[in-house]
């Protein structure tokens, strides 16, 4: 449990920065090199590398180097603990209404299926 909490601290700290979230959004579309990731920002390359280092330490992104180019990609399931934590922070009534929505969706699917 303490280890899990620690990794949550790291996840949310890494995501608590607009630029790093933008990098995550970019990487969710596919892998990118450092210079590609730097393009939308006014940052120097070392600043971008620093941000990517924070994301990598939190386990959100992974990188590998081919020749002189380092490529970053989103680590699979890396954000799952964070989304699960957020998913748990719901009032009982909200959870109930979510289940009502799932139920309505399932009955709707049955009716529209040929």
């Amino acid at each position: 449990m303490p280890k899990y909490q620690g990794s949550l601290d790291q996840l949310f700290r890494a995501l608590g920065d607009r630029s790093r979230r933008a990098m995550v959004e970019r990487l969710a579309q596919g892998p990118a090199s450092v210079s590609e990731l730097a393009r939308p920002f006014d940052f120097s390359l070392p600043t971008v590398v620093q941000h990517l280092g924070v994301l990598e330490a939190a386990g959100i992104v992974a990188s590998n180097k081919v020749g002189r180019v380092r490529t970053y990609q989103l680590a699979t399931d890396a954000l799952t603990p964070a989304s699960e934590w957020i998913g748990r922070q719901r009032l009982p009534a909200e959870q109930r209404l979510d289940r009502l929505g799932s139920y309505l969706q399932s009955t709707n699917d049955k009716e529209t299926k040929p």
Binding site: E84, G87, R88, Q89, R90, L91, P92, A93, E94, Q95, R96, L97, D98, R99, L100, G101, S102, Y103, L104, Q105, S106, T107, N108
Partner: protein
């Protein structure tokens, strides 16, 4: 159980709005019909029920009583006080956790057609007693996680 319960009462009101991609008739049916309601209202496989009933009429009661797997006993008893067909229902409900009175709440559910869908407005006013929500809340949290998972694996629209 300790006899020295620290008494407290916390009052809270909240409103939840949900837009469902289903007509008002379907939402009303899911809220009021016993068989349809059983599909979503209860605690799912983690909750072992020992008493359940639902009498959808003014002065009618809804009861849901049982025990969370590896968790506390939970008892829900509601009374409908106002029903306007396919528009509004009002009920009061009480919750007990391990036979201790956890809360008394007043809930209003209003439905409104929006295009082909339905806007549901859920308003709850309640008094939460002796800080007991934390005991029940852990289990509810787990349920939320499982719901999200279940919805995800079945390709739901969450």
């Amino acid at each position: 159980m300790s006899n020295t319960i620290e008494r407290s009462q916390t009052h809270a009101t909240f409103v939840i709005e949900r837009a469902y991609d289903a007509p008002v008739d379907a939402v009303w049916h899911a809220l009021s019909d016993n068989d349809a309601r059983d599909h979503w209202f209860g605690g799912g496989p983690e909750f072992e029920i020992d008493e359940r009933s639902h009498d959808f009429r003014v002065d009618g009661h809804g009861i849901e009583s049982g025990r969370w797997r590896n968790g506390p006993k939970s008892r829900f008893v509601s009374t409908y006080t106002d029903i306007v067909d396919r528009e509004r229902m009002v009920f009061t409900y009480d919750m007990w956790v391990d036979d201790r009175h956890m809360s008394t709440s007043l809930t209003t559910i209003a439905l409104e057609a929006v295009g082909d869908g339905t806007l549901l407005t859920y308003t709850e006013q309640g008094v939460h007693l002796d800080g007991l929500d934390t005991v029940e809340g852990r289990e509810e949290g787990t349920r939320g996680l499982l719901d999200a998972l279940g919805t995800y694996v079945t390709g739901g629209n969450r």
